[in-house]
């Protein structure tokens, strides 16, 4: 720090401005920010395209190497795009159920997804998402909806079988479902909950 910056007055000003007591973490304000973020539309396709142009200019050699590399990677990995999914339905039939459409396969009963409702009570939560083995433990796609009575719920299509899940509260707190049996966790030592899904 230079001469003019080393100063008891400046130090005191700094402490005053840093300690700003009114700027405590405010969960409601953060929740408001997040609401406006999730609700704002994503950039248009055109805007995204424009963004791709805004990169530092490459050297000719660099660009050439990257082009060849990209083509090579694309050729080699072409088969990796959309790998065959175990439960990929061969035909889509049936009306949407709950919040997500259910797709049916004509003859393979084990590939029919079963609408499965999850219910959780958490009075103070701002947001709750469902995470588990059916969504790679990433909750973005499965938020719960808060009902006026304070219960949170969502209905998601799950393949028949045994599934392990948990609830992610306010994006930070991972909770097991007190209404469900506990799962073990041989790998990470953190139990979740179990749901057995089948057609009734």
């Amino acid at each position: 720090m230079s001469e003019f910056e080393r100063d008891p007055i400046i130090d005191k000003v700094r402490d005053t401005l840093r300690s700003a007591p009114h700027v405590a973490p405010d969960q409601r304000a953060v929740a408001r920010v997040l609401s406006s973020v999730w609700e704002s539309p994503p950039p248009s396709g055109w805007r995204r395209f424009i963004n791709t142009w805004r990169v530092p200019a490459l050297s000719g050699l660099g660009a050439g190497v990257l082009t060849v590399g990209a083509l090579l990677i694309g050729f080699v990995t072409r088969g990796a795009v959309n790998p065959r999914q175990e439960a990929e339905p061969l035909a889509a039939t049936g009306a949407p159920t709950g919040e997500y459409p259910v797709q049916a396969v004509a003859f393979d009963a084990e590939a029919i997804q079963i609408p499965t409702q999850f219910v959780f009570e958490h009075g103070e939560a701002q947001s709750i998402t469902l995470v588990g083995d059916f969504n790679d433990w990433k909750g973005e796609a499965m938020p719960l909806t808060r009902l006026p009575n304070g219960l949170w719920t969502t209905t998601v299509p799950l393949l028949p079988g045994r599934h392990v899940y948990a609830y992610l509260v306010n994006g930070t707190l991972l909770l097991a479902d007190p209404r469900a049996p506990k799962s073990g966790d041989a790998d990470y030592g953190n139990e979740g909950s179990v749901v057995m899904v089948f057609a009734r």
Binding site: H22, V33, L34, W38, S40, P43, R54, T172, P178
Partner: protein, 210 residues
């Protein structure tokens, strides 16, 4: 590692343990920073939880800066909210090797400048009605000093105020401030110097009186 899962104790009124604040064990060599460097990368990859954590961690600092820049809470909150929306929208442009805070502050500083331009602030008068917003629960003894600091800060030209806040309150290196403001290093040093001179001159009296 703390057990992030709770059993039935979590059901109602049971003790709940939050994740520890993100001091990720996954990257032991991260630079001194208030945020875990994995967060912006995960957020960039579509991880909403990670983005929510980013907001949680950075919101107080962002609000503090915005408050000192624009002087009132309503405008400050709007600037901060707008900033995070833009951050989220532009995550795909965030380079994996970049640091998040300077990038965030660049957007935030722009937002604050926009607010100020919209308001067409003149250099002299602060809005006394806003002062309670910023002083809050400050002790009575400190009140005079704090009020004076805000008064002087508000009378600084906005670019000096901005440079001073980034340098001395947000503790940023000049190189980062240059990236945030788009201004050259020597011009920046000059802005900080002038801000310090003004503060020193006007606050020496106040200190003497205490």
């Amino acid at each position: 590692m703390d057990d992030p899962f709770q059993g039935s104790a979590a059901w109602r009124g049971g003790e709940q343990r939050e994740y520890p604040p993100q001091t990720s064990l996954m990257n032991d060599s991260r630079p001194a920073s208030s945020i875990d460097p994995t967060l912006p990368l995960r957020a960039k990859g579509g991880d909403r939880q990670a983005f929510a954590e980013l907001v949680d961690v950075m919101y107080p600092r962002a609000l503090r800066f915005a408050l000192h820049m624009v002087g009132n809470r309503e405008d400050a909150e709007e600037a901060v909210q707008d900033t995070f929306v833009r951050v989220h929208r532009n995550l795909d442009r965030f380079r994996d090797d970049a640091r998040f805070e300077p990038w965030l502050f660049r957007i935030l500083a722009n937002r604050c400048r926009t607010v100020l331009e919209k308001r067409k602030r003149h250099s002299v008068v602060i809005q006394y009605g806003d002062v309670p917003d910023r002083i809050g629960a400050v002790q009575e003894a400190e009140r005079d000093w704090t009020e004076e600091v805000y008064k002087v800060l508000d009378t600084l030209p906005s670019e000096q105020r901005e440079a001073f806040l980034l340098r001395h309150v947000e503790d940023m290196a000049y190189e980062d401030i240059a990236a945030i403001t788009g201004v050259g290093l020597s011009a920046l040093r000059m802005r900080v110097k002038r801000a310090c001179d003004a503060l020193r001159v006007r606050l020496t009296e106040v200190m003497r009186d205490e």
